[in-house]
Symmetry: C2
Subunit: 191 residues, 2 copies
């Protein structure tokens, strides 16, 4: 869409993602009929339909827990709004950060978390805290009724049993090991 393309075939779509045309068609068929035989996909309409499926129009709100280097990088450089998510606050223990604005969003004391969430419903908490406090904070967040946890701590965390909070992990380690595996294979000359 950004390239001004109006329609595209499943073959061309697949090529841009390293997939086959039939993988594209099969995946889309799980959700309905987006294309037209012989015409392909209308790019604007396809994007809109995928955005709906992905929940991008549900005005999800997010807060960042832990505004160290990583939390700050996400607040300042990651375009939450491009994915339909509105960032509403950052939380940190460090008093030097309180009242600061990163990426248009204010940093509050961690002790204000509970009252903030009561007054401003939050769908997603972005967890970017030290590993030692990841689990207790996950339990707190799940008790507050937050729907989704975006976990950047590189450790496994578990919500309270009574909560329905969904955890999505960004495990840098898995990705680095995948890369390590692939370049080691290359070096072997086995690929």
């Amino acid at each position: 869409m950004n390239m001004g393309i109006e329609r595209i075939s499943s073959g061309d779509l697949g090529e841009s993602m390293g997939l086959t045309a039939s993988q594209i068609r099969q995946d889309y068929s799980c959700f309905g009929e987006f294309g037209q035989q012989g015409y392909g996909y209308n790019v604007v309409r396809l994007r809109a339909e995928l955005a709906t499926i992905l929940g991008m129009e549900q005005k999800h709100t997010a807060i960042v827990i832990g505004v160290g280097n990583l939390g700050r990088a996400l607040m300042e450089n990651f375009h939450f709004e491009s994915y339909g998510v509105v960032l509403t606050g950052g939380f940190d223990l460090n008093p030097a950060l309180h009242g600061k604005i990163f990426g248009d969003v204010e940093i509050f004391p961690l002790e204000c978390l509970k009252s903030f969430v009561k007054e401003n419903p939050v769908s997603i908490a972005v967890l970017a805290v030290p590993q030692a406090v990841a689990q207790p904070l996950t339990e707190t967040l799940s008790k507050l009724g937050i729907q989704g946890l975006w976990n950047f701590t590189n450790v496994e965390v578990k919500p309270c049993d009574s909560a329905t909070m969904i955890v999505e992990n960004v495990h840098f380690s898995d990705s680095l090991l995948a890369l390590s595996y692939m370049i080691s294979e290359e070096g072997d000359g086995t690929k």
Copy 2:
């Protein structure tokens, strides 16, 4: 292993990862025989064998390109050495950073990249630069013969045609959209 467990069944291993025993056995069988019927897996030996497969013993070296908040977070908080990777330098345009030490590793001017790589072979470049310069830097890095690019820029990048550099993307957006999808489904009451 950290929990002091000496042997484990494929069922217990699977449970800890949300997989079935047979998925675990099937995946491992792609690489050889790690367990023993009725005994399970010797945890220390399994870890060592997986580490070898993943290339963790090949002493891969890495440099970070772009030491903004994200680059700095990776240098200071991500344990490269736990995954068998030795971080040897950071590179940035900003003169205020040159000579600084983050996580035991020095930051050099970006213009020193070429000579550094000639003198200190680098297996992996961690790309944490602004999106506008991601593609030209990818081409430069691929021409320098770096084997793997760990791409944190959230844009697709392409090495030079003549290069064999492998790109591993950490696309935060895919992960956020997956979470958005899952919590939207939950809200529907369809799950």
